[in-house]
């Protein structure tokens, strides 16, 4: 039904012409779900935008064709394209919060979509809208239709978006990261809903995602994109039972999970090549273990492996195939057994309670409090990793910040937190300074956590300067140099600005900054959520190695269960500001006691690689 033929999309940027999508050919049948997977910058979103012709002004389809049934979308005039967009092709975007107009009720937006693309008008259109809201699983649709977007939760907004997209009965639905901004439990509901509706309507779906777990849950066929090219294409069963392309296998190896605990993750060294250059060989060759002179000097074609399974790699060439070299299994050194945990607790938190004041009235008096964290208690030993797991709004970040005393002045914090012999909640200025030398934080967003106007050298030296004023300039220099070494960044980084680094490198800088004062505890607030899988693997490896060398304890705040399984020694599950369950990592994951923990774990989409029946992959 949808057919892309050698699609090539160019973006004109200040660096030159960026070929964001290069020679992508694929076909989607009615009723099929095709998942386009890739890391950021691989060109998957640009592919979707090319299909619906919603490219930015500086981008254009340079060659190739997009065919929907008999029409060639690439050549249609804009006025005719508008009938296709929304009518035959519908789109859902990542961020439901910004996809809806905040000053129009959802009903009006839904009715607008219906009247634009169908014959229904007035009361009939409204009835249809109510009907759709019911079908996407919104309770009390008659009442909810007059709600404004701010009155709905993120999941509900995404449901409304789906209703709007499907209300016009499209033949093709393009879903660009539809669940990335949502919690796992909501993600599961949304994916189930999409699958149900698709089955019911027999429509085709192009799912764009970076999450291989989601792919294994919903896709029929999979396309892996790397640096603007499709490198592997095949059915889900075939792909997950035996991924062929070296990039695909290593991407799967980079996914953290419980089985990989003993050794380091498969971090794909290097980075995606910039796309404004011309390529003479395989684009993955610089990062590939199997790469030979042929890979570097000749562009590999897509080899057909039977059953619609194609791969762009010389290892599968009919003659003179390049031998595949397996990546070495990297051991974590002494292994997990050697991990030394002290007996004495490093950090003990008892009955921590955080309330944010609500101010109202003329004089902004405190009229009440919002409780963000209720009576949270836990303890952490030196060298241990405690994962604080929960969905957004469960109070895990607030807990971390309260312990770091970053909420002083903005929230009311009760309870007790002892770091060694320092009572954090009651610490004065000098004591707090002493405590800050022992605990540091790594943030989620590597782009927001480094001051864009400071050089890396200044960023790293700032903590030492502030907390260790007794050290002189030479000593400070020496330490900063050593820090760069620890996180494997070159010395030349010192005089550069953060924007010159990639996301993974920035996160290394942030880690180095936290290590600068030699803390014994680091609060890691979702340190890998903003990163691609392969970069996430690099950072997780680094964190694991640093713990091994320095014996630093981590309070690891995350919503990613895979990361928790891989890294955590103990787990505390948070829901609505309370810890509902705590336990050793192994026992909690295999035998969860609390109902919420069970729901949470069940909702996580899993990737199972190996020779297994495709049916087993689907979670019950």
């Amino acid at each position: 039904m949808l057919q892309l033929d050698q699609l090539r999309t160019e973006i004109h940027s200040s660096q030159g012409i960026v070929v964001a999508v290069d020679g992508v050919s694929l076909a989607i049948q009615p009723g099929e779900t095709f998942a386009l997977v890739g890391e950021s910058g691989s060109g998957k979103s640009v592919t979707a935008l090319s299909i619906s012709r919603l490219l930015p002004d500086n981008a254009c389809i340079a060659a190739g064709d997009v065919r929907l049934d008999d029409a060639s979308l690439a050549d249609l005039p804009e006025s005719e394209m508008r009938a296709y967009r929304g009518g035959r092709i519908a789109m859902i975007f990542q961020e439901p919060a910004t996809s809806l107009n905040a000053v129009m009720s959802v009903g009006r937006q839904l009715v607008e979509a219906i009247t634009t693309h169908t014959e229904l008008r007035g009361a009939a259109a409204r009835a249809k809208a109510v009907d759709w809201l019911k079908r996407v699983g919104i309770a009390e649709p008659e009442r909810r239709i007059d709600s404004y977007p701010f009155q709905l939760s993120g999941g509900q907004k995404q449901r409304v978006m789906i209703a709007m997209a499907l209300a016009t009965e499209p033949a093709l639905l393009i879903a660009d990261e539809p669940t990335t901004a949502l919690d796992v439990t909501v993600q599961k509901q949304i994916l189930d809903l999409l699958l149900d509706l698709q089955r019911e309507r027999g429509m085709a779906m192009l799912l764009i995602t970076h999450d291989l777990g989601v792919v294994s849950q919903v896709a029929d066929r999979v396309g892996i994109m790397y640096a603007g090219e499709l490198v592997e294409l095949g059915s889900k069963a075939a792909f997950f039972s035996k991924p062929l392309h070296p990039y695909a296998t290593r991407l799967l190896g980079a996914l953290p999970d419980v089985d990989k605990r003993g050794h380091l993750l498969e971090a794909i060294a290097g980075s995606v090549p910039p796309l404004y250059q011309a390529f003479d060989g395989c684009r993955f060759a610089p990062r590939c273990y199997s790469a030979t002179a042929r890979c570097r000097g000749e562009i590999p074609p897509m080899y057909e492996m039977g059953g619609g399974h194609g791969v762009r790699c010389f290892a599968y060439a009919p003659e003179a195939a390049v031998p595949l070299v397996l990546p070495p299994l990297r051991d974590i050194g002494a292994g997990r057994a050697a991990k030394q945990l002290g007996d004495k607790a490093l950090l003990t938190v008892e009955n921590l309670r955080v309330r944010f004041p609500i101010r109202s009235g003329l004089l902004q008096r405190v009229s009440g409090h919002v409780d963000a964290v209720h009576e949270v208690s836990f303890s952490l030993r030196p060298g241990e990793t405690l994962a604080l797991v929960g969905e957004s709004g469960s109070g895990k970040t607030t807990t971390g910040k309260a312990i770091l005393q970053l909420l002083r002045g903005t929230a009311v914090v009760d309870g007790q937190a002892m770091l060694g012999d320092i009572d954090l909640m009651r610490a004065g200025k000098a004591e707090l300074k002493r405590a800050r030398r022992q605990m540091q934080i790594i943030f989620q967003d590597p782009f927001g956590s480094l001051n864009p106007r400071m050089r890396v050298g200044e960023i790293l030296a700032e903590g030492i300067q502030s907390l260790r004023p007794e050290l002189d300039l030479a000593e400070r220099r020496r330490r900063v140099d050593a820090l760069l070494e620890q996180v494997s960044l070159p010395q030349s980084a010192l005089t550069r600005f953060p924007h010159e680094f990639s996301g993974g490198q920035r996160q290394r800088i942030a880690i180095a900054r936290a290590l600068a004062v030699e803390p014994s505890l680091i609060v890691c607030d979702e340190p890998t959520s903003a990163l691609d899988v392969s970069v996430q693997a690099q950072i997780l490896n680094l964190l694991k190695e640093l713990q091994q060398q320095l014996g630093v304890a981590y309070l690891f705040i995350t919503h990613n269960i895979g990361v928790v399984e891989y890294l955590a020694d103990r787990i505390a599950v948070m829901q609505a500001g309370r810890i509902v369950e705590t336990g050793e990592s192994a026992s909690l994951l295999t035998a969860p006691q609390h109902a919420y923990t069970r729901t949470l774990l069940a909702a996580v989409p899993r990737v199972v690689v190996g020779e297994v029946d495709a049916e087993v992959l689907l979670p019950a």
């Binding site: 002004d57 002045g409 800050r436 934080i441 927001g448 001051n451 864009p452 400071m454 502030s466 942030a510």
Partner: protein, 463 residues
């Protein structure tokens, strides 16, 4: 000769010094250099900057003041304070007529009482300076004006050609190419920097200046005002007033707005309440009233302390100086609110929290982490404010509370034009002159600020 540095001259010199220092700093900081290069990378931006630069040079020439020595006396100087621009425009300054005359006229605009052949009568009299070299003006005037115009165009083109040749030469040397190659790439606009647009702007300006110069030696190019002053001279002198008001008021605005804005945004609590209270109050006072009150107080002060201001130039300058200060004191609220909002957003940024986790002091967070990150806002609003303040001066002088009436400014020009427009026949050239010059100044400042905003605003689309 005694060099005189008026208060506003100090400001002009300091601003120049500050700009040069900033430029030097920009060259050394790659990320700043890149953004600035982006600002100068559009044809509109650079052309506007070129026009603005011409205005700046005129303003600067008018800021180099001195008092000439009185001939034959040691250590005694004339009471009149002159500027370098006055010397350049000596002919225009001294070539005063009796009253109004139209642009390029050789006789007065109105009939004057005179005695012809012993009979008292009213007639159009020849001007004393404009077209005084013509014997039979009726026949010679048109040819003379045409000839001078052509010569002026030629002169301008010659200058422009010389500038282009110089650029080509430099380009060829820098790129190690032949002259022909360099010229071709310049003509096709393939030099990375919109040099072509700059040269075109310069050509237009040179032609205009050439024509003006050729005509100005014999005529009043833009006519004369009620007391016979050459308008070209008056309007060129007005440029400095506008520039001083624009830059100096901004300079007064900035520290207040930035300091209070950052403190309010970061410290919150009662500091925020207090600062918000202050700017809300200031905002609700009609600023014309506030300025009128201050200017009146100031005039009384100047009148009561003649010993502090020995020359009239110093008196008018002091009034200009304080006008700038009071304009600055009343116009900081908008920038302050803007910066407060930005800082409230930034204080939640993770790098600020990381600094807090390191126990970095409040002062250091304000100055090292927050200030550089709102700098682009400051810069953008500074250049946008500039034109607003130039216009504000015009309004204030029109109302009569602006600069000293004896000081040339766009506002006083427009104020006099008000009465002239209601005359019959209409005196249109005062308003036209003031309008044209002010329009070009403000428009080029606005276009340039647009280019800067596009380069510095992270939300602007980068194509």
């Amino acid at each position: 000769m005694k060099i005189v540095v008026l208060w506003t001259d100090w400001v002009v010199l300091l601003v120049l010094l500050g700009t040069l220092t900033y430029g030097w700093k920009v060259m050394r900081q790659p990320h700043l250099a890149v953004t600035w290069r982006k600002a100068f990378n559009t044809a509109t931006g650079t052309s506007a900057a070129t026009v603005l630069a011409v205005f700046l040079v005129i303003g600067l020439l008018d800021s180099l003041h001195y008092r000439p020595a009185i001939a034959g006396k040691a250590d005694a100087y004339a009471t009149e304070t002159r500027s370098v621009l006055d010397d350049i425009l000596h002919q225009q300054q001294t070539g005063r007529e009796r009253s109004y005359s139209a642009p390029l006229a050789y006789q007065g605009y109105e009939k004057e009482a005179t005695v012809i052949d012993g009979q008292a009568t009213r007639a159009y009299l020849r001007l004393q300076h404009g077209g005084a070299h013509l014997d039979q003006p009726e026949q010679q005037w048109a040819a003379d004006v045409l000839l001078r115009t052509v010569a002026g165009v030629g002169l301008g083109l010659l200058l422009a050609a010389a500038a282009t040749a110089l650029v080509v030469l430099l380009l060829a040397r820098k790129r190690r190419q032949g002259l022909g190659m360099a010229w071709r790439s310049l003509r096709r606009g393939q030099v990375g920097f919109p040099l072509r647009a700059v040269l075109l702007t310069l050509t237009v300006l040179a032609v205009l200046a050439g024509v003006m110069t050729m005509l100005a030696t014999a005529y009043h190019v833009l006519g004369t005002d009620r007391v016979g002053n050459d308008l070209l001279y008056v309007v060129l002198k007005s440029i400095r007033t506008a520039l001083v008001i624009g830059t100096m008021s901004t300079l007064v605005t900035m520290p207040i707005a930035v300091g209070l804005g950052i403190c309010a945004g970061y410290l919150r609590g009662w500091v925020d309440e207090a600062i918000q209270y202050v700017y809300t109050v200031i905002n609700s006072i009609p600023y014309v009233l506030l300025i009128a009150a201050v200017v009146l107080i100031l005039m009384v002060f100047i009148d009561n302390h003649p010993d502090l201001f020995p020359t009239s130039a110093e008196r008018t300058d002091a009034r200009l100086f304080f006008l700038c200060i009071i304009l600055g004191m009343t116009s900081w609220t908008e920038l302050c609110r803007l910066i407060r909002g930005e800082v409230i957003k930034l204080r939640e940024a993770e790098y600020i929290q990381a600094a807090q986790a390191f126990g970095v002091g409040t002062w250091r967070i304000l100055s090292v982490h927050l200030l550089p990150n709102v700098m682009h806002l400051i810069l953008i609003s500074m250049v946008i404010n500039f034109s607003g303040l130039v216009l504000a001066e015009a309004v204030l002088s029109y109302v009569g509370i602006g600069v000293d009436p004896s000081m040339q400014s766009f506002g006083t020009l427009i104020n006099t034009a008000r009465l002239e427009l209601s005359r019959e026949p209409t005196i249109w050239w005062t308003l036209a002159t003031a309008f044209t010059f002010m329009f070009s100044l403000v428009l080029s400042a606005n276009l340039f600020s647009d280019a800067i905003r596009d380069a510095f605003d992270p939300r602007a689309t980068h194509k």
